[in-house]
Symmetry: D2
Subunit: 252 residues, 4 copies
């Protein structure tokens, strides 16, 4: 890494509005005018670049939180805390082959692709309108290792000739897919299911138990943000629930 240069993707911002930038060439259209991307080549983080109308945009590095912030999202997108739990509990390392069923807007697939830079994420979405959103999100983030398939994962699964290191499910009929997922996993691979509902979480857990998954656990992570004001420190009054996670492993 060059200490002072800018790495792609980078983020440019003016006040509270920010954009992800993925190239050092061409024009970039903002709400305050057009930026000549070639100017970024010789700049550093913290520097400014001006639009043709003279508005100064500051440059900051891309952060994983930008997936969550800049993506078009569905109603219950998975949050970084949940991604972190998937990585920490499955020991996911770069170079893995991952199947993600139920792409939605692509937040989970994007994170997995980011952390699995030397591997591949195959993500499957049935609804073309969601696949279209996800495709744009992946391009925005400059992720080259995501393969987006449009179709029913039950049908597509029959054609897969490879075994996966990790399978993640975020779709309605997740419990039905559990036995298929087990077939598609290589030995020692993990299945992770994300679901906002308690009842569905129970069904998935029991299905994984009877399918012979081991190291089974199911949980939710509640993130409590602290607010540090002059007068004192307190939890933010809003605490967010997102969804439940079930993790299991195929040992033999």
């Amino acid at each position: 890494m060059v200490e002072d240069g800018i790495e792609l993707p980078a983020v440019i911002f003016f006040g509270r509005i920010s954009y992800i930038v993925n190239s050092f060439e061409g024009e970039f259209h903002t709400h305050k005018g057009v930026i000549d991307l070639s100017e970024l080549k010789n700049l550093s983080y913290g520097d400014e670049v001006r639009t043709h109308l003279g508005f100064p945009f500051k440059i900051r590095p891309f952060s994983t939180a930008d997936f969550f912030k800049h993506f078009k999202k569905g109603p219950t997108p998975i949050m970084p805390k949940d991604i972190g739990a998937i990585i920490a509990y499955t020991g996911l390392r770069s170079g893995s082959l991952i199947l993600d069923a139920g792409t939605g807007s692509g937040v989970l697939a994007a994170y997995l692709a980011y952390f699995n830079r030397d591997g591949i994420v195959v993500t499957v979405e049935k609804r073309p309108e969601f696949a279209k959103i996800a495709k744009k999100n992946f391009e925005l983030a400059g992720l080259g290792n995501v393969r987006l398939l449009i179709g029913d994962v039950f049908d597509l699964a029959e054609a897969f000739k490879i075994k996966f290191d990790l399978i993640t499910l975020d779709m309605k009929n997740d419990a039905e897919f559990v036995p298929v997922a087990r077939e598609l996993l290589r030995k020692t691979g993990y299945l992770v299911v994300y679901n906002p509902y308690m009842d569905a979480t129970r069904r998935v857990y029991l299905e994984m138990q009877s399918a012979g998954f081991e190291e089974l656990q199911s949980f939710e992570l509640v993130k409590i943000d602290l607010e540090h004001k002059r007068v004192g420190t307190r939890p933010l009054t809003k605490i967010w629930h997102t969804g439940f996670i079930v993790i299991g492993r195929k040992i033999d």
Copy 2:
């Protein structure tokens, strides 16, 4: 990865007792007798290996949870959920240079080394008795990319000629080290502080704010495990608090 072979480290277990195994050579002493490790070379996960007294141990793959389970630990060890948050919010990828101040029993450094396989973790511990425990834990886990230094991190910091991508602190005088940490970070690098106490968390946050760290956030993750019994599903009656996390980034 060979589909059917065993990868090191692996875990052998008999009932509820398990051991981490890190070699295919030599003898391994268990509470039920001695195992000849060379036998593992031709076995698969799920197979059994017998001690000289005839007790059968099953073989399963190592999982990151084994750090937490098998390590000698201090009173408030960081948990996988917290490691996951550090990775997800800093975007940590393998190949990084990490400084971990306040090794303790080494749980955090071990996780960081595992996920940073192609990089280096420098971990600093002042108390020799803790450093000794951490050293054994790193050996147990077969981690070759941890450099354990014994000494005061304030003194050692002056000698560092390199800049770090990530610095983690888990030590008493963490707030005082914040300005030093900023000096040691490369641009775009992250500082993460873990502390079980609210008051110390406030001090660190305010210190990082005045030192010019950006993307500042402080939070705690509460893990609520679900229990699925025949009669129904419920949260486990015990929910665990571990500690607060403060994350900030050096932009320029």
Copy 3:
């Protein structure tokens, strides 16, 4: 209680807008016209009463939640869950003499007056503009057993010739008032302090400890509401933090 009659206060509502009604005489002005309150005398809950413009308002019984819903409130009003904890942990029963310092908008004093129907609540507020709001709220709720004093509770305390069964504090300099509160309590009486900040909670706790309060505890209650949709059950995505509670008792 008459099974079919309406008890005061009652609530009348049209769609999502509701009003507390405290008399069976006179006119009541709503956003949809005027209601003749004498009509309510012969009606039952679930019945309708019409405004002079013909809009039908339904009648339902008053509930304690109406304090919270209909009162003008400040930024961090205490919630019913917290009132419940105060009652349950102090064993508060009707007929008590209660001092409430830091009236604010009067939510806590109103609840205490409601549950302490045969006793008295003395509530003290320094800022006249808040006292004005509280006064209106008490009238709205038809509470006849609240005595609202405007002034500094440190000054007023010197004049009290009686001892209280319960003292509640919700004000900035709460820790300083702890020794005074102890003097004002009768033996076996409880002191309860409500504060949204962790640091202030710590100061109060330590102050109560050194002042000799017993049965000391400090906690926060997080209320997790469940949402039951056709597709499943889940925690509402927003979970609310309000404040910390410290409770202690004067034994001798």
Copy 4:
């Protein structure tokens, strides 16, 4: 209340062992010898009373927490925080007629009887062995306004000629009893169901919804205790889940 005298029930304790005392007459057997209860008549809280072996027991007032501490309990007893929520959200005041179905060890019925001093609590338990425990607990607490019935509440319900202000359920087939409970409630009365399981909570909620209950809500209260040590303040590492509460009201 006499400022300096002892009120019954009172608590006597020696170190960590304590007993509830309910009379000023007769002998009381402790693990450290026998106490002559008539001695308590002239003592105050904080004073000591000695056993015939000379061991000094201190006297402190009874607190509602003593129900929870001294009662023989089943596996998932309701906690004071939950009792508080029931009182706060139903506006329960002394003088009510309460039906409690599923007595168990009697913790809930005892709290209700305590706060409903001028009213009656009818509590029904099917299993004689539990009824026996509950009976002892009620005697221990000196509660004279609890009527304990042994039998099936579905059968007994047919014989009730009165209507209740509040009905609480803590039993396995709670959802089935919802329509019966509605019949037994007077207008404006509340039904409260306590259950440790999510699935049962959902069934009860949907049943209450279709039975026409209003002001419906379902939630869980998580109590986070704070620990104030010299080095700082933090949540206790264990946070407790007990059960879910569903509350609804019969309006017409």
